[in-house]
C-alpha cells in the first residue's frame, strides 16, 4: 500500500467530502504539518488556515468543517477519546475549536482517518456513512426533524451494523440556532460556538461511523511504560482519583460559590443562595444513577442522571426524550451554572430536564442558559414584556427555563430571539450591555471580577469567552500547580499564556484536558513520542501550543478581529460586585493585557509581530 501506512499514532489518511458535488476523496496526511501541529486542534487549525478564506459567512457553503483526531485518540492512554471540530463559528464569526469525547473520535481512527474535511453544502438533507474504507453520502430527508436521540436510534436500525457510532445535529442545528452543537453517543457534545449550526447549514444531519481497524504504535514498549506512569499519577491525584469520579464537574458549584465567583442572574450577583440545591453533592445523593466514562478514560466523570416520572412530566414541553426510560446525562458544572444560578433557578430537576432537552435538541447548554439569563434581565428591566416573550421570563422560573429550551431549538415565539445568542439578541433589543461574553460567545461559569486571570483568559480567547482555553481557575482557586491569589493581577498574564499554550498542545494530542488536574505535558510526552515515533521534547510541545494559539489569532485577524476585541463587558470592568466574598471587585483587565501582549511578542495593539511569526514558522 501507500507510504502513509508507515505512520504510527496517526492513520496517515484524511477523508475529504465535498457535499456540493458529492465527491469523496482520500488523501495522505501532510506529515510535516502533522509533526508541527500534532493533530486535533492543531492540525485542524492548520488545514483550515491553509484552505479557507476566514472572511466568509460561517453559514455559507464556503465555510469548511474539520473533524480532527489526535495521534493518541483511540489508544489506551487515559482519556484518549477526543476529537475536535474546527470551523468558523456561527455564534462568533471567529475560528472555533469544539471538543468532544465519547466513542466517536476513536471510531474515526479505527475506520482509518485522522481527519474528515467537509466542504460545500448538500442539495438535500444528507448523512455520511463511513464503514472502514467504504464511504457513502446518503439522503437523510427521513431523519430531518428528528431529535438527536431519535436520530441515533433510527440510523442504527437503518444501517444494521452493530457498534455503529453516530454524531448528529438535532432540530437546533437544522434551525440554525447560533449555539447549536454536534452530539455524539447521545450525551457528548462538541458544544460551543455553533458548530451544529454550521453542520445544519450544510444540510448534513449525521456522520455514522464503524471502524474495525486499529491504532498502531512506533515503540510499543516505551508507549506502555509511559501510559502506566501517567495512569499511576492520575490514581494519586485528589481531583482525578476522587473529586471528579465522586461528584463529576459539578463538584465545583459549592467551591466556586464559596469564593463569591458563581455568576448569578446574568452576572448581577456572584453568590447564589440556592447553590447547594444544584451542587454535585445534591446531584450525587438524589439523582445519580451511574458514572459513565468516555472511551479509555480512567476518571469517568460523566454523570448518568435520572428523573422520576412526576419530576420529568411537570413541565409544559412537548419534547420528551422518549427513548430514554431511566436516565440521561448531566448536568455538568458549566450547564448547571448557566441554566441554574445565572438564571436564578435552584431547582435541580429543572436543570436535569433542560439539560436533557439541550442534548436531545442539540444545543450548547452553556450558551443556551446564559442567553436565557440575558433574556430574563431584559424582562426584569422591562425591555421586553410578556406580550413579546409569551411566558413570564422571570429569574428563578424553572418552568420558563425548561419551556425556553424547546422554544429556542424550534425558534418558536421569543425562542427565535434567544436562538440568535445573547449578543445578537441584546443588540437587536437595544441593550447590548446585557450581553455577558466575549467575541459573541457567552461566558462560562467563573466570575471574571472575582477571578482576575479568568478575565484575561476570556478576553483573549480566540473562540470567544471560554473556560477551556486557559483554565486559570486551577491555579487561582484549586491551587494547581500552585496557589495564586484570585484577586491579584500580578503574574496572571504569564500564567494565562502558559495555560493557553499548554492547553493548545493537549487539545492537539487527542487527550482530554481533565488529565491536567493530575498530570502535565511531561507525562503526556513519552506516550506521544512513542506512539508517533517523533522524538518530541517538552520545549517543542510548548512551542507547538504557542504556534497553534498564534495561528488561531492570525486566522481571526484575517476574519476582521483586532486587539480591540480583547475586552470584557462594561459590567465586568466597571460595576463592582455588590455583595459576597468578592464584594467591590471589578476585573482589572487593563493591568494585565499590556503585559500579556508583551509576553506574547505582539505589539501594543495586540497584533502579532513579524518576529514572532518568523519564530513560530507562521510567515
Amino acid at each position: 500500500m501507500s507510504a502513509t501506512n508507515t505512520m504510527h499514532g496517526w492513520t496517515g489518511t484524511v477523508l475529504r467530502v465535498n457535499l456540493t458535488t458529492g465527491a469523496i476523496t482520500k488523501e495522505p496526511l501532510n506529515a510535516e504539518w502533522a509533526r508541527d501541529y500534532v493533530g486535533g486542534r492543531g492540525l485542524g487549525v492548520k488545514y483550515l488556515s491553509e484552505e479557507m478564506d476566514p472572511s466568509v459567512d460561517p453559514l455559507s457553503p464556503e465555510n469548511k468543517m474539520i473533524f480532527a483526531t489526535g495521534p493518541l485518540t483511540g489508544t489506551n492512554a487515559s482519556c484518549g477519546s477526543r476529537y475536535m471540530v474546527v470551523t468558523k463559528g456561527a455564534l462568533t464569526n471567529a475560528i472555533t475549536t469544539s471538543n468532544s469525547g465519547g466513542f466517536w473520535g476513536p471510531e474515526m481512527k479505527f475506520a482509518g482517518y485522522d481527519m474528515i474535511i467537509l466542504e460545500g453544502k448538500a442539495a438535500q438533507p444528507s448523512y455520511l456513512w463511513i464503514y472502514d474504507d467504504r464511504v457513502e453520502l446518503r439522503e437523510a430527508t427521513h431523519l430531518w426533524g428528528k431529535t438527536v436521540w431519535q436520530t441515533e436510534e433510527a440510523l442504527r436500525a437503518e444501517l444494521g451494523v452493530p457498534d455503529t457510532i453516530i454524531a448528529s445535529i438535532g432540530p437546533a442545528g437544522e434551525n440554525l440556532v447560533r449555539f447549536a452543537c454536534i452530539m455524539n453517543d447521545l450525551h457528548r457534545a462538541a458544544g460551543r460556538s455553533g458548530v451544529g449550526a454550521v453542520m445544519g447549514s450544510k444540510n448534513l444531519k449525521a456522520i455514522a461511523l464503524r471502524g474495525t481497524g486499529g491504532v498502531s504504535l512506533a515503540d510499543p514498549q516505551a508507549y506502555l511504560e509511559g501510559q502506566w506512569a501517567m495512569k499511576e499519577k492520575l490514581r494519586q491525584s485528589p481531583v482525578t482519583a476522587e473529586g471528579l469520579p465522586m461528584y463529576g464537574t459539578e463538584v465545583l458549584v459549592n467551591v466556586i460559590n464559596e469564593h463569591g465567583a458563581l455568576p448569578t442572574r446574568n452576572h448581577q450577583q456572584t453568590v447564589f443562595d440556592e447553590a447547594e440545591n444544584i451542587s454535585g453533592e445534591t446531584l450525587t445523593e438524589t439523582r445519580l444513577v451511574a458514572n459513565k466514562a468516555c472511551f479509555s478514560c480512567t476518571i469517568a466523570c460523566g454523570r448518568v442522571s435520572t428523573l422520576p416520572g412526576e419530576a420529568s412530566s411537570k413541565y409544559s414541553v412537548t419534547t420528551n426524550p422518549q427513548n430514554w426510560k431511566i436516565a440521561g446525562e448531566g448536568p455538568e458544572y458549566e450547564a448547571a451554572w448557566a441554566m441554574g444560578s445565572e438564571c436564578g433557578v435552584g431547582d435541580l430537576d429543572a436543570l436535569i430536564k433542560a439539560n436533557w432537552l439541550c442534548n436531545d435538541l442539540g444545543m450548547d447548554s452553556i450558551s443556551f442558559g446564559a442567553s436565557v439569563a440575558a433574556a430574563m434581565e431584559l424582562f426584569e428591566k422591562g425591555v421586553v414584556s410578556q406580550d413579546e416573550t409569551g411566558i413570564p421570563l422571570e429569574f428563578g422560573s424553572a418552568e420558563a427555563l425548561v419551556a425556553m429550551a424547546e422554544k429556542t431549538a424550534y425558534r418558536q415565539g421569543f425562542g427565535d430571539a434567544v436562538a440568535e445568542g445573547s449578543k445578537r439578541m441584546t443588540e437587536t433589543l437595544g441593550r447590548p450591555e446585557f450581553f455577558m461574553g466575549v467575541r459573541g460567545q457567552e461566558f462560562a461559569a467563573y466570575e471574571a471580577r472575582a477571578i482576575q486571570g479568568m478575565g484575561l483568559g476570556y478576553a483573549t480567547s480566540n473562540r470567544g469567552a471560554c473556560h477551556l482555553k486557559a483554565y486559570t481557575v486551577a491555579a487561582e482557586i484549586l491551587g494547581l500547580p500552585r496557589q495564586m491569589d484570585p484577586r491579584a493581577t500580578e503574574e496572571k498574564a504569564e500564567i494565562t499564556k502558559i495555560f493557553q499554550d499548554a492547553t493548545s498542545t493537549v487539545d492537539a494530542t487527542g487527550l482530554c484536558q481533565f488529565l491536567t488536574f493530575g498530570v502535565g505535558l511531561e507525562e503526556m510526552l513519552p506516550q506521544l513520542s512513542a506512539a508517533t515515533g517523533v522524538p518530541y521534547t517538552l520545549e517543542e510541545l510548548v512551542h507547538i501550543g504557542e504556534r497553534i494559539w498564534n495561528l488561531e489569532r492570525l486566522w481571526n485577524e484575517r476574519a476582521g478581529f483586532t486587539g480591540k476585541d480583547d475586552t470584557l463587558p462594561k459590567r465586568i470592568l466597571e460595576e463592582p460586585i455588590p455583595s459576597g466574598p468578592a464584594k467591590g471587585e471589578v476585573n482589572r483587565l487593563g493591568e494585565m493585557l499590556p503585559e500579556y501582549y508583551e509576553l506574547r511578542g505582539w505589539d501594543k495593539d495586540g497584533k502579532i509581530s513579524e518576529a514572532k511569526k518568523k519564530e513560530l514558522g507562521l510567515e
Binding site: F110, L186, T212, G213, P220, T298, K325, I326
Partner: protein, 163 residues
C-alpha cells in the same frame, strides 16, 4: 481454580479491558479484535463486560471437527491451536454465549485464553470491575444477568407507568 469475575456495578464503560485484550493479540489498539466486549446498555445505564467464562461443557471444543481447541491444564482455559485450526468457524456457531470469534485476516478462530493465567483485561481495569480469583462457579454470570434484567424491568415499569 481461578476464574474471571465481572462486577458490573463497578464498570464505567471505559473499554480499557478491550484495548488491553486487543493489544495482547495484535500489538495495536484494535477493539474489534478484543475477545472481551463491554456491552453498553445506555437506556438502563448498565455497562457489562462479557467474555468466555471457560464453561465446562465447552461446545466450541466438542463442535470442532479437527480438534483444534484444547484445554490449558493450568488455567482450565479452552484454547484455540492456530496450527490446527482450519478456519471453518463452526465453533463460533456452536458457542451459546457468543464468545468465539473469527478473524477474517488470518482465517482462524480466536477466543479468550486467560492470557495463560495473567489476564491483561484484569490488570487494565481502573475500577476493579474485573477480577481473576479462586471461585468454584463462575458466579458473576448470575449478577450480570440480574443487573441487566433489572434494567429491562425498570424500563418496562416506566413504559407501563407512562401509558
Amino acid at each position: 481454580m481461578k476464574q474471571l469475575r465481572v462486577i458490573t456495578e463497578k464498570c464505567t464503560s471505559c473499554v480499557q479491558c478491550e484495548l488491553a485484550c486487543a493489544f495482547v493479540q495484535t500489538g495495536t489498539f484494535q477493539p474489534s479484535r478484543s475477545v472481551i466486549r463491554v456491552h453498553i446498555f445506555d437506556e438502563q445505564a448498565v455497562y457489562a463486560p462479557y467474555t468466555c467464562f471457560q464453561c465446562d461443557e465447552a461446545w466450541c471444543l466438542t463442535a470442532c471437527p479437527v480438534n483444534a481447541i484444547g484445554i490449558d491444564s493450568d488455567t482450565n482455559a479452552k484454547v484455540v491451536m492456530d496450527d490446527v485450526c482450519v478456519g471453518c468457524a463452526v465453533c463460533t456457531v456452536a458457542c451459546p454465549y457468543g464468545t468465539m470469534f473469527y478473524n477474517p485476516d488470518t482465517h482462524k478462530a480466536f477466543k479468550c485464553d486467560l492470557c495463560g493465567g495473567d489476564p491483561a483485561c484484569v490488570k487494565s481495569c481502573p475500577t476493579g470491575a474485573l477480577e481473576y480469583v479462586d471461585m468454584d462457579q463462575p458466579d458473576w454470570l448470575a449478577s450480570w444477568a440480574d443487573k441487566v434484567n433489572r434494567g429491562f424491568q425498570h424500563m418496562q415499569d416506566e413504559e407501563g407507568g407512562n401509558a
